[in-house]
């Protein structure tokens, strides 16, 4: 029985809570509804259903090019982030050293410092180096912004691992490197994958970095949405927005599947060990 079991929130508080839920979820069904509208402009309620905005979205070479650029940036920065964050999380969780909290603060800083500041600071430096407008510049920028999130996910996974497993392997004659690859890395894999998925998603949705570091030929999906929302609200954006919501749902489902698959694997392997014994 959980320690929370003895509290029963009263009905009025429950109503407040569900109102808050309604407030949080409201825009999502509205966007989905509008995206199927058959009207020529944004109007309520939609007079009928059609796929015209999806046709316009996927039929436009500009929007499709932006999907491609966003995908490239998100995949590259997710991979880079996974490597950097995994390496950093190991000593931060396992090793014990002075001034650790300062290193924590540095690793988490990009999450706290307003992205607008990071973006203009990088813009000045990259402009001098002639790198603005390239996929590389946007990828580097996204990696900075996404690194803390991946680091947080990986640290919490690593915290749940028993360091004695690796030590046992070393005491049985494995080199530390072999022990890491054979023992720790497989156990850490779900955390690395989850961190990668979150990194992908955050990067895919990031707006401010590509707004400053991108150029006319490297507009990510978010930048193209921004440009059209700032100019005029037209329903094609609803179809693009539904595409982004779909991506979010897909990544969340994948993350859930990853953690479930690994849970099953680890429980079945411990079961096997038990039956061998």
């Amino acid at each position: 029985m959980s320690i929370n079991a003895s509290i029963k929130p009263n009905p009025a508080v429950r109503v407040l809570a569900w109102c808050a839920i309604a407030f949080l979820i409201a825009p999502i069904p509205i966007i989905i509804l509008v995206s199927f509208s058959s009207a020529q402009y944004l109007t309520f309620p939609p007079p009928g259903l059609s796929l015209q905005w999806y046709e316009r979205f996927l039929g436009s070479s500009e929007w499709v090019q932006s999907i491609w650029i966003s995908l490239q940036v998100a995949v590259f920065s997710a991979i880079l982030t996974m490597v950097l964050a995994t390496m950093a999380a190991i000593p931060m969780v396992r090793a014990d050293f002075g001034r650790k909290s300062i290193i924590y603060a540095i690793l988490l800083a990009p999450m706290i410092i307003p992205v607008i500041i990071t973006a203009i600071a990088m813009y000045f430096v990259f402009a001098q180096a002639g790198l603005t407008g390239t996929v590389l510049a946007i990828t580097i920028g996204h990696t900075i912004v996404v690194l803390p999130i991946a680091f947080v996910v990986l640290s919490s996974t690593l915290q749940g691992l028993d360091p004695r497993l690796e030590r046992a392997a070393i005491s049985l004659g494995a080199t530390p490197l072999v022990a890491f690859y054979k023992i720790t890395l497989p156990l850490l894999a779900p955390g690395i994958l989850t961190a990668g998925l979150f990194a992908f998603l955050t990067s895919f949705d990031e707006l401010i970095i590509p707004l400053f570091l991108g150029g006319p030929t490297t507009q990510t999906l978010a930048v193209r949405i921004w440009n059209s929302v700032v100019m005029e609200i037209e329903p094609t954006i609803s179809a693009v927005a539904v595409f982004l919501i779909g991506t979010t749902v897909l990544v969340m489902v994948l993350a859930a599947l990853v953690s479930r698959a690994f849970q099953r694997k680890s429980s079945s392997s411990s079961h096997q060990e038990a039956s061998h014994a």
Binding site: S6, I7, V13, I25, M87, D96, L107, P114, A179, I233
Partner: protein
């Protein structure tokens, strides 16, 4: 210290380390850890941050003092504090961030409370309904609110059906506040939820059995225990909203702009990079002071749990 560990990492390889290596590592109090966990693993991430994050930040600090031919100057800062519009925007940024923080706690507290004290099935549904918008692009969600709140949007359509007057809740301060509270509430809910899950509900039950009403048991037992969560969530929301760009820019009016918007405007439109840098440094200072308070009062570990 760092160098000693690097040497240790490269030094002995195969054999299990003897107690002597531990002493050799630096004489300080250290748990034994396999040397693959040594500190050199931090080098790639810290190096990457140094080159692409710390260096650019340092260069905007320098740039904010750049007076061109006249060398170093405080001119950009004095402009900021003497031209009346800028202190007004600074004050407005603080005011709106505070208001957002209070509203977010009011909206988020009951939700986190019910979520932490519900059956697992209800809790999971609620968690999903918080996480889905939280993980969805801010831009997409802001667009959703614009569709709802615009003059010919859903809200006014419903108001019309009930014969109510049309409301203006977009491109003004209330509109911006709705957008900000909406975007920041999930942070409050998730932070509070993780704190509330750790509160021992039996304490409330004991208070009730000793004769306290539900109301006073809540305010005298539960609420004080949840205060660390409220403090952490408030600081986080204040920090995040004071530097927020997307939602205020899209949903606020021209007079309601915050520091982030004028930084972007100085860079994008006026190409006044030095002045933009000075404003960025002021915003950075506010953020770092709040972050320092956060790290002292709440601890960085909280930040680690609230985002997972």
């Amino acid at each position: 210290m760092m160098r000693a560990c690097c040497r240790a990492a490269r030094g002995e390889t195969v054999s299990a380390p003897s107690p002597n290596t531990e002493a050799a590592i630096g004489g300080t109090r250290r748990k034994w850890t396999p040397r693959i966990t040594s500190l050199w693993l931090l080098v790639p991430a810290l190096g990457f941050l140094a080159v692409f994050f710390a260096y650019p930040l340092a260069s905007i600090v320098l740039r904010s003092f750049d007076g061109g031919a006249s060398g170093l100057t405080l001119e950009h800062y004095s402009t900021f504090f003497t031209v009346p519009v800028y202190p007004r925007i600074l004050w407005q940024t603080i005011e709106i961030s505070l208001l957002t923080t209070i509203l977010c706690v009011l909206v988020g507290y009951p939700l986190a409370y019910v979520m932490a004290n519900s059956s697992p099935a209800v809790r999971n549904v609620m968690l999903l309904m918080v996480m889905l918008p939280f993980m969805t692009s801010v831009l997409v969600r802001t667009y959703g609110w614009m569709v709802i709140l615009r003059p010919t949007g859903l809200l006014n359509h419903v108001a019309q059906l009930f014969g109510l007057p049309a409301v203006e809740l977009l491109y003004n301060r209330p509109g911006m506040l709705i957008g900000l509270v909406y975007t920041m509430t999930p942070y409050v809910v998730l932070t509070l939820y993780s704190v509330m899950r750790g509160i021992d509900g039996r304490l409330v039950a004991v208070a009730r059995s000793l004769g306290a009403s539900g109301w006073s048991a809540f305010w005298r037992i539960y609420f004080p225990l949840s205060l660390p969560g409220v403090a952490g969530a408030s600081l986080l929301v204040f920090i995040l909203s004071s530097g927020f760009y997307i939602t205020p820019r899209l949903m606020g009016g021209d007079r309601d702009q915050l520091l982030a918007s004028i930084i972007a405007y100085q860079v994008d439109v006026l190409l006044n990079f030095e002045f933009a840098s000075a404003i960025a440094v002021i915003l950075l200072a506010i953020t770092l002071v709040c972050f320092g308070i956060y790290a002292r009062a709440v601890g960085l570990k909280q930040l680690l749990t609230s985002r997972t």
